[in-house]
């Protein structure tokens, strides 16, 4: 047989085909409704010219085989699959053993290892059956459909390791030696996990925006290091050699070297890390200062744009959901509070600290209803506050209230998560991650508060006074260039620094980058 052999399994049928000729060798039914995903060839030397590329270069790729494997079209497809009694679900992992394939099925009480020959039509034979201990059995999800099953339960047949992530528990079990290798109870553990093919490393992500890397040892898996994830709870995948790990979520893929994982401090699993890049920033109108706060933090830092150094630290004494510089004051929206401080001017004392007692204005307003405040904004005349609250995934309520009256004349549902009042305070832009803004009319400036969104507009070219566009003609392109007013390429941002328009704040010659891949805001001064 020439070429690469692979197994194919759909609706519990494992089929062996010769890829190059397309010949269907034989099929076997396992009597389970679950499809499986991975395909493994039988050896590493198969190639049409007998050589193995060492250069790693990729060229002249072509589709060498395209076969429909439905029984009626397969060359030897009139053979009926041979049924094999199998109790449970076929694992996602399958591996080769000489001239045969081995795979595993996972049942509620047993793991069964099977072997099937490439060229022999003998049905798969049972190699080994291992019982699943009670603690593993109780941790297993009772009714999970594929592909959730594949995500929550993984089997590494080469070393007979079973991994289960379910309801905040991560268990790794050596089925052959009936030994628990890892038993971690952490409500923040997510089912996203990966094992190296030799079982040397195991990685899982957590809802605390961390990735945990575990290393095999004679006593089981020990925590080798942790990594802060900048893009939520990513999917992750260890390289076969265990040297690298990729994380991917949405449009971004990131590469890490496992050597770069930091040794965890004691008690790391009980720590809560904040999302690394959820900042709110506004510039002073005269372009000399920038104010920045991490969302839901209570400390505002005022940065001097000439030196980049902190000029003032403000302890607001409340979680902050919105911030805006209005004339010579910085105004924050906290939990039911609007507080303002004068910005430093004239002879400044570097890095002074003030608190709520030093504020020049403090107003209270009542909570808008159920749900936690997610984001907030205030109008430039300080008359209105807009709030988006979060109760459950999906569209969220938008409230616009009068600060003086403390009233909420109803709410509307929005898909946006970033708010900005227009300069005259007559409307609120509520911007979603897609970069489209719903424009809402502020109560008091229209007949029914708040108005239905009158318009949905893009934010790439907003009117003057909005933070997502430069009033001086600078712009950022989709491929990472920052262009001057004359179109000159001033800077190319590397991928971690690139973002949607929502992650950028412009003011005069200054551009701030705020998005999630950055551990702190980056402020750039551009050539004029």
């Amino acid at each position: 047989m020439v070429g690469v052999c692979y197994w194919y399994c759909d609706f519990a049928v494992i089929s062996i085909h010769d890829v190059v000729s397309g010949v269907h060798m034989h099929s076997h039914s396992l009597g389970t409704p679950f499809a499986v995903g991975d395909l493994y060839p039988n050896d590493g030397s198969a190639s049409d010219d007998g050589s193995v590329s060492e250069s790693g270069s990729v060229s002249d790729s072509s589709l060498v085989s395209r076969k429909k494997l439905a029984p009626n079209n397969s060359p030897v497809s009139n053979k009926s699959p041979v049924s094999v009694s199998s109790n449970g679900q076929v694992s996602n992992d399958i591996w080769t053993h000489g001239k045969s394939l081995r795979f595993a099925t996972l049942g509620l009480t047993t793991i069964t290892i099977w072997e099937v020959g490439f060229t022999s039509e003998t049905p798969p034979t049972e190699v080994e059956t291992l019982s699943v201990p009670n603690d593993i059995r109780s941790a297993m999800p009772p009714h999970i459909d594929y592909p959730d099953l594949a995500e929550r339960v993984q089997l590494l047949p080469a070393s007979c390791r079973l991994v289960i992530a379910h309801q905040g528990k991560v268990l790794v079990w050596d089925a052959r030696n009936s030994k628990s290798l890892l038993s971690q109870t952490d409500t923040r553990c997510s089912p996203r996990m990966s094992l190296t093919s030799d079982g040397r490393f195991f990685a899982c992500s957590t809802t605390g925006y961390e990735i945990h890397l575990w290393k095999d040892s004679p006593t089981g898996y020990v925590l080798h290091g942790t990594l802060a994830s900048s893009n939520g709870i990513p999917s992750l995948l260890l390289s076969p050699n265990g040297e690298s790990i990729i994380t991917f979520g949405e449009r971004t893929i990131r590469l890490w070297h496992t050597k770069s994982f930091t040794a965890p401090p004691s008690g790391v699993l009980t720590q809560t890390l904040r999302h690394t890049g959820d900042f709110i920033l506004d510039f002073s109108p005269d372009g000399t200062l920038a104010t920045v706060v991490r969302r839901e933090d209570s400390v505002v830092t005022v940065l001097d744009l000439e030196s980049g150094a902190p000029q003032l630290t403000i302890d607001a004494g409340t979680d902050i959901y919105g911030l805006r510089v209005i004339q010579d004051s910085v105004v924050v929206i906290g939990d039911g509070k609007v507080i303002a401080w004068k910005l430093p001017a004239g002879d400044r004392i570097p890095n002074a600290t003030v608190n709520v007692n030093d504020s020049v204005r403090a107003s209270n307003f009542s909570s808008p209803g159920k749900g936690k405040v997610f984001t907030a904004a205030i109008s430039s005349d300080l008359h209105h506050v807009a709030l988006v609250t979060y109760d459950s995934p999906g569209p969220r309520p938008l409230y616009i209230c009068s600060v003086s009256a403390g009233k909420y004349p109803g709410h509307r549902v929005t898909h946006g998560n970033t708010l900005w009042f227009d300069p005259d305070g007559r409307s609120v832009w509520c911007v979603g991650i897609t970069g489209e803004a719903e424009v809402w009319t502020v109560p008091g400036h229209g007949p029914t508060p708040p108005h239905e969104a009158s318009d949905v507009v893009g934010i790439e070219h907003p009117p003057e006074g909005y933070p997502w566009g430069s009033s001086r003609g600078y712009r950022a392109t989709d491929d990472g260039w920052v262009l001057g007013p004359d179109g000159k390429r001033l800077l190319m941002l590397p991928p971690p620094w690139q973002s949607f328009a929502l992650g950028r704040v412009w003011n005069g010659r200054f551009l701030a980058l705020l998005h999630g891949a950055l551990s702190e805001p980056v402020i750039l001064e551009l050539d004029s």
Partner: protein
Amino acid sequence: MSRPVYPDQIQESSTLDLANECSRFVTGYFDIISASAPHIYHSALVLTPRTSIVRKLYEAHAHPFVRVVHGALMSWDPNTATATRPSAIEVAVWSQCSRFIVITQRGTVMVDIIDSTTLQRVQTLEPPQGISTSHTAFVFSPDSRMLTCRTYPSLVGTSRRAA
């Protein structure tokens, strides 16, 4: 001051440090270098961490059009490479040699093979007509020259990756 010696590891040296730094510089700013070589001096060197040997050696040659006011990197990020794709990534699979990664993205049937050092696309494969890449499983052959995919409904394609 003498450098530490690790019996079973390569001894540290300033040359090795420089080589590692150069590797980080090239992989970290691969997009910039490949898009416009002059922006090594306009962009990459400006954004390079302040403690980097590469920056110390070549900073005098930089010709920036921007100033980093705040947030400049002090040292290299542990994230060695990042790539942003046009749409959400759905499937990623390593090659057996750990040198390539195959990815599929939402809204396209095309399958990209990317380099595992720079995360740059090195090949785009088109699956057979009429099938979606959703719920597709991929596996490289052990020599990483062949890529096999399975998808619904029961279609299998095998592509030759390398020359």
